[in-house]
Subunit: 217 residues, 4 copies
């Protein structure tokens, strides 16, 4: 199961994906036991660790530019006895060319290079693979949605998640807000199927998303 | 107009009703120029000040138990040249017997005595008067809703308000959450009208809320 | 006071700015008694009506492309005896050249022409004037924020508002969500002051926003 | 992995726990492969089905009072080839005496009998077991929190989850709100340990929650 408590990770001052966001991100990644996964902007490694505990027959590539964070990822991997992980100290898209073909990409931070990162991931992602992204700024979210609108071999969905934690104060419980996060999830659809779209009206019902994008272009 | 910026008030360490909550609270209070108003748990006085600036022909009674806060209310009253205000250093319901008949009661904090406060306010509130309350705990909110369900001479409505402020970070804007607040607004309906409910079906459409409560009892 | 109940307006099938969003929008517009105001995408006219009731010595120009909506605005103006309103059946930015210099612009709908509308409004807006905009899509919001980042004679702030209304179900009260709205508020700062920025460090503290933008360009 | 799409379930008119709430509920339940689980107010069976797919060596007891819903649970169990499920057409707490000792209880609906249900579940729940509850009304939430404050052999936490789904409208993505849900999660702590609390200051650090409750009583 997923959902390790935030306090169970070694943290330091590096911002960490909160448990509820982590759970929804991992669920959307739909990770299989043998999946190869890249975690871009791994931070404390909380997502990488949980992904590694699911993909026990696969491997996680955790990319992170901050060397303090790199140290935390190592500590957390040790704490949870995770061995199927490679920690890469690089600022994406740098470092992404080093990894093999992947089933899942998770983007926690893009540091202003979202489009370059998506392009580099696209080159590595298998058909049927998933990209799950967390955004805390309007601009990154908008850029991301735009990218997927222009890449019709992906089907995307997006949600905003706002969590309030009830803080126990004796008789009372007080709502404390966590900053909201947008989660965008995209699945790479088989492109070969697209060339088979002979019967337009049949295809329309099955591949509405793709078709609509064609029509819009 | 309402909606003074949070930074324009003298604040100290006393928690202040955030601008957006203040605006919605004041709008629901539907303050008239000559209204008499009590502000229970006045804190920094931000709501009292804005109410006083609307009810220029009326008067505000600001109740607050914390003496540090009392000092802040005075400073804010001076800063905004508000003279139609009486500041009462007491823990409600204490002090509420001192005030005259009122048109509006605003409850920002109830310190565990919500029912006693509502009873004391009820004794002072004119027919047609409004009570607007802010809650940050589940228990106070539930207690409040329960009180109004048992006092069918009031018509109440309630909302939860969650505000995220976009923080400007150069090219980016990042959403920062403010703790959510429930606002309950209750209006005292004329009781004398209730005895005149001869024609049930006519009354039903006009006073559905009252009727339903009768049926439920 | 502001905050007419949603049900008190004639509505039809035209989408209406919900009461809580309307209140916060009007509060941010900081409307004066003699203000000239344009309401772009006026819809049912709910915002125009409330603005007109405040600016009794000013005038409202309500632009709306949908002729069904135009009819509703007229009905609502009559219902609330509002006479200081001109209803213009046009799709903005068309029609904006017809109006005089304004103090306030409210944009409820931009129909894909946000940049053109902002440019047209900018040409009419007095120094010190306010533009308040509501957005329900990521893309319009991002476009708006981008526009104001490139127009440093404006100071903007933005919030996301999420309201849950508690629906009374006998003993229970159930939270019902209203779709979230982003409200962006921009104030036109005096441009003449900008040329006087001789002392950089002094200016920095006073006009951080402007300076930062300069530095970024 | 968890997180079947809402559309993949047979639904009818029975309200269904939305995917995001389902994921967080299941993650909090921390279901093991051999767990015995009861799902009270199973509705369409979406949670029961996902729980059954995790606890392949365990068993799910799905309680539901509505016979239309019972039919849907059966159809969904067939659709996902789930065999480790017993569907019980009863209104909880009725029916709860029929089930064996359990590791996990999930409460999606309590129909006004929350306290009786919690008492019946408490009698069946193993030490270390989890109860995860979803609430859409203020009153049920408050009742639940109150119950756990009075049962100090449980450690509880609670969150409010508000999800906005971005609806793809061509170039635009529009936020659509889903009604917020509170999720309360409680874990049954070993009672036998409580009698061993000889060294108060040692115990204090380890069992703060329990101690605090003692002190408060």
């Amino acid at each position: 199961m997923i959902g390790i408590d935030d306090e169970d990770f070694v943290r330091g001052k590096v911002p960490m994906t909160k448990r509820e966001i982590r759970i929804l991100t991992l669920a959307n990644a739909n990770i299989g036991v043998n999946d190869y996964i890249v975690d871009v902007g791994a931070g404390t490694g909380s997502i990488s660790i949980e992904a590694a505990l699911i993909a026990t027959g696969g491997h996680i590539f955790a990319l992170e530019r901050n060397s303090d964070a790199i140290h935390l990822i190592k500590q957390n991997a040790e704490r949870f006895s995770v061995k199927n992980i490679s920690i890469i100290n690089a600022e994406a898209p740098d470092g992404l060319h080093l990894i093999p073909r992947i089933d899942v990409a998770i983007i926690g931070g893009s540091g202003g290079f979202l489009q370059e990162i998506l392009q580099a991931i696209d080159a590595k992602l298998k058909t049927g693979g998933r990209i799950v992204m967390n955004f805390i700024t309007v601009q990154s979210l908008a850029m991301c949605l735009n990218w997927f609108k222009n890449h019709t071999d992906y089907k995307y969905s997006a949600i905003q998640v706002q969590i309030n934690r009830l803080k126990n104060l004796g008789f009372y419980d007080m709502a404390e807000a966590i900053n909201p996060v947008h989660i965008v999830t995209a699945k790479k659809i088989c492109q070969c199927q697209m060339s088979n779209l002979v019967n337009f009206s049949d295809a329309k019902s099955k591949f509405t998303h793709i078709i609509r994008s064609f029509v819009q272009d």
